[in-house]
């Protein structure tokens, strides 16, 4: 069975350095609830250098959400901020970090480059 969340964090860990997180330093833990318990993912960021582990230990920022929702977030199907406003996702501690990490989540599938969009609209004329 595919596990988008695990794939996402594995991929993030493999990047080693992420320029989009260059301005961030700190630890952020994701507590993802599902029927069989809670999965923990700990992301340590040091000026863009990233390490990912499964540790359940104290972090500067903790994000809690349902794993199903999080699977959709890391697939671009749901927006992290909107889910937070709806209170389906909660962030505790340094929420700047939670905001930073949103940069590495993919956008919605099928989104357009503005040039592409404009030329499609012109063709439809």
């Amino acid at each position: 069975m595919s596990d988008p969340t695990a794939e996402f964090f594995d991929g993030l860990g493999r990047r080693g350095h992420e320029p989009l997180l260059q301005e961030a330093t700190g630890t952020i833990r994701f507590d993802l609830e599902h029927d069989h318990g809670i999965d923990h993912w700990l992301v340590t960021i040091n000026n863009g250098d990233i390490q990912v582990s499964r540790e359940d230990r104290e972090a500067d920022s903790v994000v809690r959400a349902d794993k199903g929702l999080f699977d959709r977030i890391v697939s671009g199907g749901e927006n992290l901020y909107a889910a937070w406003v709806r209170n389906e996702l909660r962030a505790v501690g340094d929420i700047r970090l939670a905001r930073f990490i949103q940069r590495v989540f993919p956008g919605p599938p099928g989104a357009h480059h503005p040039r592409m969009f404009a030329s499609e609209r012109r063709r439809q004329g």
């Binding site: 301005e23 709806r86 209170n87 929420i95 905001r99 993919p106 956008g107 503005p114 404009a118």
Partner: protein, 677 residues
């Protein structure tokens, strides 16, 4: 309609009420207690023995506290009221009201004091059109409190009203049956908490830790006023306007959840107490010589929220600077895109301009180095995503065709961009000031690359691109028969040929060819654009011109402050002084508080500036206007490590002394004597 409303605010928590202190919200009079883009009180009505109260006077002590002096509606005005009431209201963390009822007679009186309370929990985007809400309401009377609630899935908001004096509480309000002795008084303190999930404080509920428990609003304001430069001048109007602006700017400061307690200017009360990219940048630019910390926080926050992916609903693109961020229900459920929404084409180049201007004033090189990645991403955005037509200009075309903005420049109302004959161009559109901002961003980006990022090759490239843009722009936008720059280009490359105030921003950006600047200055001060108070958004004679049209004829103070700055840049001190004088004269009619916009009628016709009917006030970039006008009149510029001045002060304003101007020099003073006029 909105003139009599009383406003109190603390960041994005604010109260809009009638002069009596009552709240009775309707679509046309949208009063209420608001926090985080949700209305928490839509009804707050005081009565004594069944009579509503009338305001005798309203004492606006500060932006966070007001006193209302009231008497019951008198059947016969000749009779002295037997009782009166005082509402002392403050905001800061929560909403507090001390209600005092006074018996003026020499015998005891029995009174029924009633407070009607309700909340519709409307999202700010629903205020003018409150529809059937999708969630469920509930009301509970418990532990001497009235708890009103709204829940939609996991989203929850609650209003809890408590009182120090015992009351009979029902689902619609609080009743006190009291006896007040001869010449005695009765007092209760009412407290209204705005709560999020599971009855927790809204700030705590959103970020998992409590907000300010006790806000020391007054000390904060005193500190702010102490840190800003001191003005002395002969013009009473300018003195009043300056003081008013500093206090209003303090009021409009807003500490977003992600800013670590630091604040940046929100856009305006009441509907724009939120983070706006464009508004925060313009206001920070205006306030740089006075309160440079606003720019620092604005940059930090806009960087944090910079776009990283493509998203059609939010109109996000990598490197783009956001337009508007909200916290309400419609955003959470994606009925509105402000999470954040990125629909503005100017915020991204303006962001680079602010970084450079911030360094020039403060010498904060560390910040500029930290912002290198995001500034480069912003400059890349200009060429990659801003240039929709691939021809070297910045364009906009919304991809969110349901809730996105059609015009993504500062004149963002649907009919703001038109040809002379009134036709509206198709999309995409490239308005002229966007090209000016892009030019300036490249020039300033080049300086940053050379001086701080150690990348002279990139600097050379940016300068070359800027020079090409300037040349191209002066060829394609110049309207030969009118001798000005077109408002925009349409998708076919044709000129959207209306004469507008946008040409003034071009002077500020430096994209205007030296040989054409005098002609532009002449248009700006000419009878079609200049009303006597300021430059109109759209020239008289254009088909869509309307002196009361939001972006098609009104005068916007902020617009004029940047136009005046631009005029000085090209050496037109006299013309800049003339605009400064007009706007400061107008401010006097608004007791020093410039509205968002006022009517474009000729000054000789009306003698006073007519406020645009639904203008936002105070509004951040109007509040910043007197500050930028002061900078412009004094000709203040950072040069190396020093502040230099080249005063160009109107004679009527007389002598100006501005002391303790903060900057890379520490503190410095500037003086000017009125010689122009």
């Amino acid at each position: 309609m909105t003139e009599d409303l009383v406003r109190l605010l603390d960041g994005n928590t604010f109260v809009v009420s009638e002069a009596s202190g009552d709240i009775d919200a309707s679509p046309t009079i949208p009063t209420g207690l608001f926090s985080f883009d949700t209305r928490f009180l839509s009804k707050w009505l005081l009565s004594i023995d069944g009579d509503r109260l009338n305001a005798l006077t309203v004492d606006d002590l500060e932006y966070f506290e007001t006193r209302f002096f009231l008497t019951p509606v008198a059947a016969t005005p000749a009779i002295d009221p037997k009782v009166s009431a005082i509402r002392e209201r403050s905001i800061g963390g929560s909403f507090n009201e001390r209600l005092t009822v006074i018996n003026h007679r020499s015998e005891p009186v029995d009174l029924r004091i009633r407070l009607e309370v309700d909340s519709d929990f409307a999202d700010l985007f629903e205020i003018k059109d409150v529809r059937e809400k999708k969630g469920q309401y509930y009301t509970r009377v418990e532990n001497g409190c009235l708890r009103l609630g709204y829940r939609r899935e996991a989203f929850q908001r609650e209003t809890v009203v408590s009182t120090t004096e015992p009351a009979r509480i029902d689902e619609h309000g609080l009743t006190y049956d009291v006896r007040i002795g001869p010449h005695g008084e009765w007092v209760t303190d009412l407290h209204v908490a705005t709560l999020g999930v599971n009855g927790r404080d809204l700030r705590e509920s959103l970020q998992g830790r409590p907000g300010r428990v006790k806000t020391e609003m007054r000390r904060d304001l005193d500190l702010w006023l102490r840190e800003t430069p001191r003005l002395n001048c002969e013009s009473a109007s300018l003195m009043m306007t300056y003081q008013r602006s500093l206090v209003d700017l303090a009021a409009l400061r807003f500490a977003p959840l992600t800013a670590g307690g630091r604040s940046l200017p929100a856009a305006g009360l009441p509907w724009f107490m939120a983070i706006f990219g464009r508004d925060s940048i313009f206001t920070s630019l205006q306030a740089l010589p006075f309160a440079p910390d606003l720019a620092a926080t604005t940059l930090r926050l806009l960087t944090l929220l910079q776009g990283s992916v493509l998203d059609d609903f939010r109109e996000e693109e990598p490197g783009k600077i956001m337009h508007e961020l909200r916290y309400g229900e419609t955003v959470g459920f994606e009925e509105q895109p402000h999470s954040p929404y990125f629909g503005s084409a100017d915020a991204t180049p303006l962001y680079v301009i602010l970084i450079d201007e911030y360094e020039r004033w403060t010498g904060d090189t560390n910040a500029v180095r930290l912002l290198e990645r995001s500034a480069r991403a912003a400059l890349d955005w200009v060429d990659e995503y801003g240039d929709i037509m691939g021809n070297g200009y910045v364009w906009y075309q919304r991809r969110n065709e349901q809730t996105g903005l059609e015009n993504q420049c500062w004149k963002d109302s649907p009919e703001a961009i038109s040809y002379r004959d009134g036709r509206l161009p198709g999309l995409p559109r490239a308005t002229c000031e966007l090209q000016g901002y892009a030019y300036d961003a490249k020039i300033r980006g080049a300086r940053l690359a050379r001086e701080f990022w150690n990348d002279p090759a990139y600097a050379d490239r940016l300068e070359r691109e800027a020079a090409e843009l300037k040349q191209r722009f002066n060829r394609d936008f110049w309207v030969e028969d009118g001798e000005y720059y077109a408002l925009a280009l349409d998708a076919d490359g044709g000129q959207v040929d209306a004469l507008s105030s946008n040409i003034g921003h071009l002077l500020w950006s430096g994209i205007v060819e030296e040989s054409r600047a005098a002609k532009i200055a002449e248009h700006l001060l000419g009878p079609r654009l200049f009303s006597g108070w300021g430059v109109r958004t759209l020239a008289k004679g254009e088909a869509r011109y309307n002196p009361l049209g939001y972006h098609v004829g009104t005068v916007w103070p902020f617009d004029n402050s940047f136009i005046a700055w631009g005029l000085r840049r090209y050496g037109f001190a006299q013309e800049a002084a003339h605009i400064a004088q007009g706007i400061i004269d107008a401010a006097e009619f608004f007791n020093g508080r410039l509205p968002e916009a006022f009517a474009g009628h000729d000054r000789e016709l009306t003698r006073y500036p007519v406020q645009y009917p639904t203008a936002c006030s105070p509004q951040a970039w109007s509040t910043g206007t007197p500050l930028l006008l002061l900078r412009t009149m004094l000709g203040m510029e950072p040069r190396g490590e020093h502040l230099v001045t080249r005063p160009g002060v109107p004679r009527e304003i007389g002598r100006i002394e501005l002391r303790d101007i903060p900057g890379r020099w520490g503190r410095a003073d500037a003086f000017g004597r009125g010689r122009l006029g």
